[in-house]
Symmetry: C2
Subunit: 351 residues, 2 copies
DNA sequence: TTGCGGTGAACAAACGATTGCTCTATGTTA
DNA sequence: TAACATAGAGCAATCGTTTGTTCACCGCAA
């Protein structure tokens, strides 16, 4: 058992409160120099560290944040977590990680546990549009920040990218390459990124005067397996697409697998563009053309916003939206990979 | 502010202890049916959830575990974490994630914080040989389990794979393909996996009667960047290797990059074998031949061992060692990728 | 000698829950 | 009717800190 204040007090023949004041170098009270040094020696000798649980109870703060995401196995969220931790650890916080697998019930269960634990704040990257869980957080007055996806436009503190713009860039890029039948592996309409990236896709088509063929938009969700299935659907059309804009890189990777299995060459037979620029994207062969977003910064910015909220106590629904950038690689332009050698991916914080 | 026991007691005109007993369906005490239902209604109505911090103080358990790893961005640890969480969440635990980047001081700092928070147990996957941090854990009597790496042979609870065997398999495979000049991108000698995989590499060479050329062993560490640098060194030898056994898949990926940049064909000019079989390995082109270990199970088994330790209070230095399996892909045998299509990676829990 | 200011440290009340024990009715039995 | 068992609920201590308040004491000035 670690040593307690009371034990130290007994050993030093003083009252626990005195030890506490020395340990915290309480500015308000006066301690005799001799007493102080005696206690300080004792503190060092015993390596006293205050019981965080007791401290948490008294001070009503746990110095714990929680991160709720779909799946840490997805590289997107690994980078996000590092950003958050890098923002939180230097300020004395540690971080609980909760995976939901995109299942609302699990998200709910995790948030309830977290509330019971009195975590100081929550970063949520697994939210749905009009998510009751987010409403619940608001209602609980738990400090929180949404990342990547939002729940209701402009209502919550949020860090993410301009999804419409990113999807537009991606689609315009394919149009610029001469593609007309451009398929979209789309995210669920229950998720903001799903909706907004569709919107950007449609906007780019409309702007170019290309009619949107509903057959070319297939809902894939955000992970590899769904991307593969949706891709199968698209390739079985009588007039299959010559290019694909996938809602995420993982979805695009699913499409890679199918294309490869069918013997389609990328980009000659099928051009593919993704979204997020996860580390994996640049390592694929050919490299995946994608929309770069500064994931690590999503995390560190979100952590900072959350800590500000916690420390000031005010919840400003501030939104930080990064402008995404297209990164062209070999999956859309043959030979583009070689031109990229040695060029680091670019980041562009905005607003 | 969430509702407290005292407030509920006031509203129900009973003593807080009575509410507590109802909330916990205390088996020892008798409560009148009418009182019970009245209180139960109140509990539901107010959605009362006991303050976990206060509970933690009183009961001396926080229902929090901690996972300490080098870097969650490494796919190895993503899978590991999921295994742990999957083992812990159903039992009511949530999990703190701490990244050390392999820096001992950060590991130490995290462990100290965790101890102050009174986490119920720690899973450590970033340990060094003879690690003072592990000694400290032992001394603190904090329940813990080491994963993947160990600190001192046979002393600590441990989950991992048979590294010597895995490295032997990998090297034997290359020998079997006719390679004689086989390079090793080696892990640090301060880490058990580094040492044991070297040992397996040397054992396989010796067994085949191939003299070990010291120039062919270059220390790379466990991540991509180091793998690339070490590979450069090896390729600048007057007699460069024709095959590489890399201590981890990430290191092997570093080697891929260099080989590609130099225009070397894999596997014709350079065969490469890795270790761990991270999800990425199968997606590379060509697929990476590697030693499969059941990472997710490392996590779930470690979580179970830890919980057992926590609940029984006894620390048995039990070791669970999985037998690794070679997975042959295109990085060592041309065309092997095609044969693998649709065949899932195999798992083999042993002991 | 009395009173006062100030110093240094103890006191005690929280924070919110848990739990062994005590106490008071009520009902049962002799 | 008296003694006693029992159900039902309150009491109070405790977990380890923090912090506003009180208290004892000393030296000094009047």
């Amino acid at each position: 058992m670690p040593v307690t204040l009371k034990e130290l007090a007994a050993r030093a023949n003083v009252h626990p409160s005195t030890v506490s004041r020395v340990a915290n170098s309480d500015p308000g009270l006066r301690i005799a120099a001799t007493t102080r040094t005696r206690i300080e020696a004792l503190l060092r000798e015993t390596e006293y560290r205050p019981n965080g649980v007791a401290r948490g109870l008294k001070l009503r703060q746990t110095l714990v944040l929680a991160v709720v995401i779909p799946d840490i196995t997805n590289p997107l969220f690994g980078a996000l977590f590092r950003g958050i931790e890098d923002g939180a650890t230097p300020r004395g916080y540690q971080v609980l990680l909760c995976n939901t697998d995109g299942i609302p019930e699990r998200q709910r269960a995790h948030l309830h546990s977290l509330a019971a634990r009195r975590v100081d704040g929550v970063i949520l990257a697994s939210t749905f549009l009009k998510d009751p869980a987010v409403r619940w957080l608001r209602h609980q007055r738990t400090p929180y920040v949404l990342v990547n996806r939002f729940s209701e436009e402009g209502v919550d503190p949020f860090v993410g990218s301009d999804d419409v713009m990113g999807a537009t860039l991606a689609t315009q890029h394919l149009i610029g390459l001469g593609h007309v039948r451009i398929g979209h592996l789309a995210g669920q309409p229950t998720v903001s990124t799903g909706v907004l990236r569709r919107k950007g896709y449609h906007a780019a088509l409309a702007e170019a005067g290309i009619p949107a063929d509903p057959d070319l938009l297939v809902e894939s969700g955000f992970v590899e397996e769904g991307g593969a299935q949706a891709m199968e659907r698209l390739l079985s059309l009588s007039q299959p697409p010559t290019a694909i804009y996938a809602v995420t890189d993982m979805t695009a990777i699913g499409a890679y697998g199918v294309a490869r299995k069918r013997g389609l060459r990328i980009p000659e037979d099928l051009a593919i563009v993704g979204y997020n620029d996860i580390p994996l994207a640049g390592r694929l062969i050919p490299g995946l053309t994608t929309v770069h977003v500064p994931i690590h910064e999503f995390g560190s910015v979100a952590a900072r916003m959350l800590l500000e909220q916690i420390e000031t106590g005010v919840l400003t629904p501030r939104r930080v939206v990064f402008a995404p950038q297209l990164v062209v690689r070999g999956s859309s332009v043959a030979g583009a990979d070689e031109q990229l050698v040695g060029r680091p991916a670019q980041r562009s914080p905005v607003e």
